[in-house]
Symmetry: C2
């Protein structure tokens, strides 16, 4: 069975998945890189960017679950680009010519455009449709593998509310952002569908995993 | 030096310290007892209520830090009683004739009344004053010992914002309440004054401790 999975989604202690305002210079707003420093310290990250070294403990082990078994990605318009990206016909995402998705990648947006084929197996498809519809299409494109929901917070929240997420890994970083976009808003009672596991890492972050049980 | 300490303050995964609406029948609103089941399972809790048994692991060890060294308590009006308690001249709190504070206990409220002396060392004092003023008075009453800040979320948040908290122990319970009163609102950058430690318990809750470093 093909699952819908969220990996390495970082939130502050007060629940924000990004700071504000989002911009070309500061994709995460006032959060800067602080939500992801735990990840940049892992060996997995270093391997991906071609650097030596990195930690090999619990952060690394969990972070590595990101890629195996994934056949397609879904992301929100605000992950794909800064405010106004759709006015730039040349915008192809933040990730250069060879984005790290290596699979069909569905961008949920009210501003659709023609698909963009990148190097390394990533093709961006732009969809103005419901979470269930986009997931159905992504699942078909994943060809028996799982679909990764890449964020941001708005899109993950919408998929959670629609009951479409099988596995969610969130990383609680011990900072208070005070403002931005919250992951958990409007999800009262979510725990009844999931087994929730929490593990604190010596690095200071806490890994939460929600595994669907029904 | 006399410290200001918060212990065993329970919040949901989405950051709520109580549900809603608060009432005489349901002090925590729709949260019911779910925020405190981890605590009721400890040996410490059972000892306090005169029952046998209870767990003796990390939840118990941390929960026990609640009492030692405390010489006074501060709480908010909504912890002291349900909405409208001040219209009842007989209201003396939820805790019966011998409340578990055993010390001078300062209730922050816009509806002050004469002090109420209870059994076992608890006297309730009602104060309409700033956090700093009430803390100064509680500290004097604590006679060299520490002051416990008992909650709810509103009062703790106000003391945090005023830079008056030395130690905060919050317990993250894996439920999503969706509504109620949030602990962390409006506290951007709080982490710069604290060392933050996180430990996940096998019971499913995560203990956060914030220790003031400057
Ligand atoms: N914390 C992490 O680990 C992490 C991970 C990934 C990204 N991020 C960050 O999160 C931020 C983005 O998150 P976000 O919550 O602001 O936004 P988002 O979830 O990336 O995107 C939301 C936007 O997608 C479009 N959209 C969503 N559902 C749609 C639907 N059904 N039909 C059509 N369009 C739809 C809408 O944009 P339009 O109406 O404009 O088209 C909507 O405003 C960025 O700063 C990104 O860098 C963080
Ligand atoms: N999660 C936990 O572990 C935990 C622990 C303790 C309590 N609780 C629960 O939390 C809830 C109460 O929390 P809450 O956030 O609603 O309220 P709260 O913090 O208990 O009390 C806030 C109220 O105190 C009064 N107040 C605060 N500062 C004041 C000031 N400077 N001067 C005068 N009055 C002041 C105001 O009431 P008035 O204007 O009405 O006087 C204010 O609305 C209850 O449900 C309680 O059972 C939870």
């Amino acid at each position: 069975m093909s699952l819908t999975r969220v990996h390495n989604f970082a939130i502050s202690l007060d629940g924000f998945g990004t700071g504000e305002p989002q911009s070309l210079e500061e994709p995460f707003g006032h959060a800067g890189e602080r939500l992801h420093e735990w990840m940049f310290a892992t060996r997995w990250w270093n391997e991906n960017v071609g650097e030596p070294g990195g930690t090999t403990g619990v952060d690394d082990a969990i972070a590595r679950r990101h890629q195996p078994g994934i056949g397609a990605e879904i992301m929100g318009a605000n992950k794909f680009g800064p405010p106004g990206w759709h006015e730039d016909p040349e915008w192809k995402g933040w990730w250069g010519e060879n984005p790290p998705f290596h699979s069909p990648t569905f961008v949920m947006t009210h501003h659709t455009r023609e698909p963009i084929e990148m190097q390394g197996g990533t093709t961006f498809h732009f969809r103005d449709a419901s979470p269930a519809e986009v997931l159905e299409e992504a699942r078909a494109a994943a060809d028996g593998q799982d679909v990764r929901l890449g964020g941001g917070a708005t899109v993950i929240r919408d998929f959670l509310a629609a009951g479409l997420v099988d596995h969610l890994h969130a990383v609680v970083v011990p900072i208070l952002l005070g403002r931005g976009v919250r992951l958990w808003d409007g999800l009262e009672g979510l725990e009844s569908d999931y087994e929730i596991e929490s593990v604190a890492s010596p690095s200071g972050v806490t890994h939460l995993t929600l595994t669907r049980t029904r």
